[in-house]
């Protein structure tokens, strides 16, 4: 089942902060975050695992609330280069440790203006 992202779109001025949320109705093994610029492929930003481990972009932080099946991506001191569409992809929890099949949300369009 497709995760729900919010907001659908956000407009910032350079230097401002933003939070993008991703929630699922299913228990999750992991949450993956990607940024896609127009006409380009999605770029991996971060992965968060059940149990608290995470790996990703050094300038971007995220959280994963396993009980609520929610993840949030925190973009602080935004730069022009942060503009793009952000997708979360979720992997449902399987007792064997998870499957790699990602189900993506509809995306959040972020625009950073000078």
């Amino acid at each position: 089942q497709q995760p729900v992202q919010s907001p659908q779109a956000v407009i910032l001025r350079e230097g401002e902060d933003a939070v993008i949320n991703c929630s699922s109705s299913k228990a999750l093994y992991s949450v993956h975050w990607y940024r896609q610029k127009h006409g380009e492929a999605p770029v991996f930003l971060m992965i968060l695992l059940k149990g608290g481990e995470q790996k990703g972009h050094e300038k971007i932080s995220a959280s994963f609330n396993e009980k609520k099946q929610q993840s949030s991506l925190y973009l602080t001191a935004s730069q022009l280069s942060y503009s793009g569409t952000y997708f979360c992809g979720t992997v449902p929890y399987i007792t064997q440790g998870g499957s790699e099949k990602l189900v993506f949300g509809k995306g959040t369009k972020l625009t950073v203006n000078p």
Partner: protein, 116 residues
């Protein structure tokens, strides 16, 4: 991360024809996936390409329409068969290596398909 290439990068095709898209990775990977992304939309998984066996298709996608090959750990093809304008989309392959606990997926540049 792996370097992934796709061919062709874009194509314009006639209704009723077929197009084969290639995905090449510069290192061996465990998992390869094919996604479709319609303009302005999210990414939808078509199938998982399994090395040495048939691909595993998601609901709404069938082998006759989207045959997939994966002859080795660095290469896969997706064919879009008997195309219609509704097949116009961006097709992306992605790869992941099962290196527990992280299974990051990385995407190829995509193939932009227009069907007339």
């Amino acid at each position: 991360s792996a370097v992934i290439s796709q061919k062709p990068s874009r194509d314009i095709c006639q209704r009723g024809t077929s197009l084969t898209i290639q995905c090449q990775v510069d290192s061996q990977v465990t998992m390869m996936f094919w996604y479709r992304q319609q303009p302005g939309q999210s990414l939808t998984l078509i199938a998982t390409a399994n090395q040495g066996s048939e691909a595993t298709y998601e609901s709404g996608f069938v082998i006759d329409k989207f045959p997939i090959s994966r002859p080795n750990l660095t290469f896969s093809t997706l064919t879009v068969s008997n195309m219609s304008p509704e097949d116009s989309s961006i097709y992306l392959c992605s790869v992941a290596s099962r290196g527990a606990p992280y299974n990051e997926q990385f995407f190829g540049p995509g193939t932009r398909l227009t069907v007339l």
